[in-house]
């Protein structure tokens, strides 16, 4: 089976143009000291969005599409499939899950535009309130595999968030759907070969994941709701109807760090794949990239904070980020949660203060 690994041509072109533009900006900046002004802050925000948020959006969309394509290829001929095909599917799920964790900190705009049927919830039910719906998806998958319902797109699109998304696909790919829940790739393959409806479930759920991811990418890149503009345009032009762009970005990341710690994501997520630390590592890398930008080539948020005279803020943020990344690498949940709490604090204080941004009295001070 072919390993799918593509970037869409249009996005490649767009990204290359963007990099060229940013590189030209960096040449100017190397000759001139970075000034603390609104233009450079806006440029730092634009770089953060284009280099990290949009890239995360597009990589998740691509990875989801690849998972669907790989599933389609697998299901076209399960009779001749091998255990390696199961491993390939598992690896593609791992890649998609990591790409989701890299995007999930930017929990606004297309991710939660529909408050009642938010895209993020369909993709990642754990993110809603930290509840692990593994028992629900196991029951749902088994029921669909053994039942007689017509397993078409409409069927899966209508399912509530507790029964779908990455968790449901994790169960389909990393264990058998029978009561043994065997993790043996031979047993998983045999079940696909014995029960054709399991492939229908895999295809239906992976297609819906792809649709959700494409919807997010479309909102960011093309048109957001009925605005006629992309969310990127609305965001960078500060045309959001509900608040300022940089406040939205910083508070979203802060709340995500709080979620990762408060809901013990390290010990509850991706338990079948055993990849929660890798996923949190992907989230931390994404946030680090958001802050640091591309080394030496762009105006980044941390550069701006440092030039504004807040080198101690930058040192604190970098130190806590390194601590969190090390804890994730060590798979040490206690140390990770402690470091996440420190980073959470950085996003409540040092990051907004360093950028001279108000998160809001009411947001900050409870009563």
């Amino acid at each position: 089976m072919r390993k799918i690994h593509t970037l869409k041509a249009g996005r490649q072109l767009c990204f290359a143009s963007l990099l060229a533009l940013l590189c030209s900006a960096c040449v100017e900046r190397q000759n001139d000291p970075l000034l603390v002004n609104s233009n450079n802050l806006n440029l730092a925000v634009q770089n953060a969005v284009d280099l990290t948020v949009l890239r995360s959006v597009n990589e998740f969309a691509d990875s989801s599409a690849d998972l669907y394509a790989l599933s389609t290829e697998f299901c076209d001929d399960t009779a001749t499939a091998s255990e390696q095909d199961i491993v390939d599917l598992q690896n593609q799920w791992l890649n998609t899950n990591n790409r989701w964790y890299a995007l999930a900190p930017y929990h606004f705009g297309p991710l939660d535009a529909d408050l009642l049927n938010a895209a993020y919830a369909y993709i990642d039910s754990l993110r809603v309130n930290g509840t692990n719906y593994l028992a629900t998806v196991r029951s749902e998958n088994a029921s669909n595999i053994d039942g007689s319902s017509t397993l078409n797109s409409a069927f899966f699109a209508a399912k509530s968030f507790q029964k779908v998304g990455l968790l449901s696909l994790e169960s389909l790919l990393f264990e058998t759907a029978d009561n043994s829940h065997s993790k043996s790739s031979a047993d998983i393959l045999s079940e696909y070969q014995a029960k054709a409806r399991k492939c229908s479930v895999l295809l239906g759920l992976s297609e819906q994941l792809k649709i959700q991811a494409q919807g997010i990418a479309s909102g960011w890149n093309e048109t957001f709701l009925s605005t006629g503009k992309s969310y990127r345009t609305l965001f960078l032009n500060n045309e959001l109807s509900d608040g300022s762009n940089i406040t939205t970005l910083i508070s979203a990341v802060q709340q995500h760090l709080d979620y990762l710690r408060a809901r013990n994501v390290a010990t509850t997520a991706a338990s079948l794949a055993g990849s929660s630390y890798a996923a949190i590592g992907a989230a931390l890398d994404s946030i680090e990239y958001l802050l640091e930008g591309e080394s030496g080539s762009t105006v980044s948020l941390l550069q701006f904070i440092e030039v504004a005279g807040n080198a101690s803020y930058v040192a604190s943020i970098r130190s806590n980020m390194a601590r969190a990344q090390q804890a994730a690498s060590d798979q040490d949940a206690t140390a990770l949660n402690a470091a996440l709490a420190l980073l959470d604090g950085n996003f409540k204080r040092e990051v907004p203060n360093g950028l001279n941004v108000e998160l809001g009295l009411n947001f900050t001070d409870g009563d």
């Binding site: 919830a121 809603v128 509840t131 608040g243 408060a262 108000e358 998160l359 009411n362 947001f363 409870g366």
Partner: protein, 372 residues
């Protein structure tokens, strides 16, 4: 207690960098007709703290307070308003909306103010919610409205009392005891034993009529509003770090005074968006809809009080203040970026062109609408 005379007041205003001439002119300007103004505690720094006064007809004005304010109550018999301090403040300030005179008064010994209080219907008394510095227990100090001297006092019925309101009978007080004891930095120190309740009190005797709790020990009932029919809408804050579960807890509730408190339901994704924190609540008597605000979720959510149905959710960054505007036809929302947004109180759609931005202001948790 200290009453400021005009000279002291003007000296204080001058010291705070405020123009007494401007304030005086604004406050005492002859009114063409009765109109609506909106009041809110405001300010980000000690030098800015005050009472923001806003209307459709005049530029915003800030009456300096010298402390960070929280809740407000208007005397129904005159144009005087009391700005309560944010917990754990000890000084409250009376403003006369038609006159620059101010009168400051202090909390009881060894007590701080919760940030809320209410005047009696006859305007003769102020019921001020106070909290013991030693054990967090709640007390209602009943004060005259001449010099705000304490006439009597009675227990609130719990720990960490917060907002208080009247039932429509004018005799019964309803109060949310938040259940929390906090240290000087606002950190809860009794999460293990916290006990929040909704208490109904006989205002004349101070006797507890009834007390009600919800089935979540780590939920702090804090803000309330009362409908003309006597239904109490309750805004709740969950102490998530103290929970031993990951369950979603509804944070908006309604009580009829007789049956168990009813938690208002909504789809999980919406309830989750409230981020375990609802900061203020307001009922529209005209539409019988209760609006709840979550600054952490950047959301205002609305339920029908009788049908208990979620009707709408409105996004606004850092939204917390909520009151009624346009004689009750609108919900008015505020945030600390100095923004006001207005929603139709019936269909809950934003009123086009109604946004007001005051970039130099930062509205704190609560708003009050008054007619002058």
């Amino acid at each position: 207690m200290k009453t400021l005379n005009r000279r002291e007041l003007l000296a204080g205003l001058f010291a705070l960098g405020c123009s007494p001439a401007l304030l005086s002119a604004e406050i005492s300007a002859p009114l063409k007709k009765e109109h609506e103004i909106w009041l809110s505690a405001q300010g980000k720094t000690a030098g800015d703290y005050g009472l923001a006064r806003l209307s459709q007809y005049a530029p915003p004005r800030v009456l300096r307070s010298g402390f960070r304010g929280h809740g407000l109550s208007k005397n129904p018999r005159n144009q005087k308003v009391v700005l309560f301090p944010r917990y754990p403040g000890t000084e409250a300030l009376e403003f006369d909306l038609n006159n620059p005179a101010q009168q400051q008064f202090a909390s009881l010994n060894d007590h701080v103010m919760s940030g809320h209080g209410v005047f009696s219907a006859d305007g003769q008394y102020l019921y001020c919610v106070e909290v013991s510095k030693t054990d967090g227990s709640g007390l209602i100090s009943v004060r005259d409205t001449q010099q705000y001297k304490v006439q009597r006092q009675f227990p609130s019925g719990g720990i960490g009392p917060h907002e208080i309101k009247w039932l429509p009978d004018g005799k019964t007080l309803v109060l949310a005891n938040g259940g929390l004891i906090t240290d000087g930095k606002g950190n809860a120190i009794n999460l293990d034993s916290m006990d929040s309740n909704l208490t109904y009190l006989d205002a004349a005797s101070g006797k507890i009529i009834s007390q009600w709790r919800i089935n979540e020990p780590k939920a702090s009932l804090r803000h309330i509003d009362v409908s003309p029919q006597g239904k109490v809408a309750i805004a709740i804050q969950l102490q998530r770090e103290a929970c031993e579960h990951q369950n979603l807890v509804p944070l908006c509730a309604v009580h009829d005074g007789q049956n168990p408190i009813e938690l208002l339901q909504a789809p999980e994704t919406l309830l989750s968006s409230l981020q375990d924190y609802v900061g203020s609540v307001c009922i529209s008597p005209k539409s019988n809809i209760a609006g709840f605000t979550s600054p952490r979720g950047n959301l205002a959510c609305f339920w029908h009080l009788d049908k208990k149905q979620i009707l709408a959710a409105h996004r606004m960054q850092d939204v917390c203040g909520i009151t009624l505007g346009d004689n009750g036809a609108h919900f008015m929302l505020s945030n600390s970026a100095g923004q006001l947004q207005q929603l139709d109180a019936f269909n809950l759609r934003e009123i086009p062109g109604s946004r007001i931005n005051n970039k130099n202001l930062a509205f704190d948790n609560h708003m009050l609408t008054v007619q002058i």
